[in-house]
């Protein structure tokens, strides 16, 4: 029973995180959202995944064939709350999520590597260097890497006045300086590993944009100039077709502008950030304790099987 509670806690915590993430996002500073949500997501996904695999292991451990292979006594395992066959779907789900996460991580690593190569190709010594591409289409983005680059087209520069260009470049450099791509990808991985956390990547992406916007404001010392830069850039770029896969992830431009011009509408709560960090830590500890308890109970069950083995427990007829 104690193990059941320990195993359930990370699952509950992760479900809570998924449900409250939008509310947390509204009450935290963008910088906190960018860092805390991905960390909480990864910890939640990892601990809940671990809980589910222990559940699968314990349930399947009650199958007499599995017990024979593992050399443990079925009766000494934590109580059979469910018939052992329930372990099969749980194991299938855990395996599927694990494979999906591994696949996603591999894809992201390939993308990051390609971005790294692109940065190297562009040459130049320092990070945050600006590369101007002679192209009429208005576009601007940061390519992450050890020596990240900011790419901006002449079409985009033409759409902006000098102060607005400074705001744009400060915004993109902020993405590189804060390594936003890593936080975003961590949130993506968490969402793939645990579908309860699906809201996280979108929130983290939007928070990255807000944080970069704030850095741009600091750089040009004007929320108005920054807001105009965003509006003009969006209009210059807006008529083109959405690249597949990116359309849903871009931060809402009007919302960004409103946030810039009326920053008082958001009241960051530092205490809430601390609370979230504490909850993440607690979940991690609970999960470690549950690992310990699980190991202990399987060791006891093994000892029972090795020591007192006069009669095998009567085979329950499953399925």
């Amino acid at each position: 029973m104690r193990l059941a509670v320990l195993l359930a806690l990370p699952l509950v915590a992760t479900a809570l995180l998924g449900a409250t993430a939008p509310a947390l996002d509204r009450r935290l500073h963008p910088a906190s959202v960018v860092r805390l949500l991905p960390v909480a997501g990864v910890v939640g996904a990892a601990t809940s995944g671990f809980s589910l695999s222990v559940v699968a292991l314990v349930l399947l451990g009650h199958a007499s064939d599995v017990a024979a292979v593992g050399h443990w006594s079925v009766r000494s395992l934590p109580g059979p709350v469910l018939p052992w066959a329930w372990g099969v779907p749980v194991a299938v789900v855990v395996t599927a999520l694990l494979l999906a996460s591994a696949g996603h991580v591999a894809r992201v690593l390939v993308q990051l590597w390609r971005a790294e190569l692109a940065c190297r190709d562009l040459g130049g010594p320092r990070s945050g260097g600006v590369v101007v591409v002679d192209a009429p289409a208005a576009d601007a983005y940061a390519i992450p890497g050890v020596r990240g680059r900011v790419l901006v087209s002449t079409g985009m520069l033409a759409a902006l006045d000098p102060a607005e260009r400074r705001a744009l470049l400060a915004h993109e450099r902020s993405h590189l300086a804060h390594r936003h791509h890593l936080w975003i990808q961590a949130a993506e991985v968490a969402a793939v590993a645990n579908p309860l956390l699906q809201a996280l990547p979108g929130l983290v992406r939007a928070a990255c944009e807000r944080e970069a916007d704030l850095d741009a404001v600091r750089s040009v010392r004007s929320p108005q100039v920054t807001a105009r830069a965003i509006a003009r850039a969006a209009l210059a770029r807006g008529t083109r077709a959405a690249p597949p896969g990116l359309a849903a992830t871009g931060a809402d431009v009007p919302a960004r502008i409103e946030t810039l011009l009326a920053p008082a509408s958001r009241h960051p709560r530092a205490a809430l950030a601390a609370l979230l960090a504490a909850a993440v830590l607690a979940t991690l500890v609970v999960s470690l304790v549950s690992a310990d308890v699980t190991e202990d109970s399987f060791e006891r069950a093994r000892a029972a099987a090795a020591g007192v083995e006069p009669h095998e427990p009567p085979l329950r007829s499953p399925s």
């Binding site: 992201v108 993308q111 990051l112 390609r114 971005a115 692109a118 190709d121 562009l122 040459g123 590369v131 591409v133 002679d134 192209a135 289409a137 576009d139 601007a140 983005y141 940061a142 390519i143 992450p144 790419l151 985009m156 915004h171 993109e172 993405h175 590189l176 936003h180 791509h181 975003i184 990808q185 990255c208 970069a212 004007s222 108005q224 807001a227 105009r228 965003i230 509006a231 003009r232 850039a233 969006a234 209009l235 770029r237 807006g238 077709a241 959405a242 690249p243 597949p244 990116l246 359309a247 992830t249 871009g250 931060a251 809402d252 431009v253 009007p254 502008i257 409103e258 011009l261 009326a262």
Partner: protein, 142 residues
């Protein structure tokens, strides 16, 4: 043998640049291969030269049974052209797919475009700092 395509292209361009500086003029495939100290096979060098020629980086003239290749322009210009091509590729192709890129602005839907135009025309045209809150109570909260 194991080196990447870009490195080989650079090495070939360097060899041709060297030759033009020493007034050696155009080089045949065998001469370029020799200049690379046998780092690349003849056919690999031929492929690279053909590719660079197709890209417009090199000119060639018939010599013997094949061609002799020379830089199409001053080395700096070749490099600039190559870099520009790479960047256009980045902008147009990779920029659309790569999820790791941080774009300044995403796509707009038409309603948002109207809101942005209104914001700009209300707050920006005179060039004065827009003191008024131009968006509050605007097109409504969606």
């Amino acid at each position: 043998m194991r080196r990447e395509r870009g490195a080989l292209e650079r090495a070939v361009l360097l060899a041709l640049e060297d030759s033009s500086r020493r007034a050696g003029g155009a080089l045949t495939v065998a001469e370029v291969a020799a200049a690379l100290d046998g780092d690349a096979a003849y056919t690999t060098v031929l492929t690279t030269l053909t590719r660079l020629h197709d890209k417009g980086a090199l000119t060639r003239e018939p010599r013997g049974r094949g061609f002799a290749y020379a830089l199409a322009a001053a080395p700096a210009a070749v490099d600039a052209a190559r870099t520009a091509r790479q960047m256009r590729r980045l902008l147009e192709a990779e920029g659309r797919r790569e999820d790791v890129l941080a774009r300044f602005v995403a796509e707009l839907d038409p309603a948002d475009a109207t809101r942005l135009r209104r914001f700009l025309s209300d707050g920006a045209p005179t060039g004065e700092p827009a003191g008024r809150d131009t968006t509050a109570g605007g097109p409504g909260t969606s």
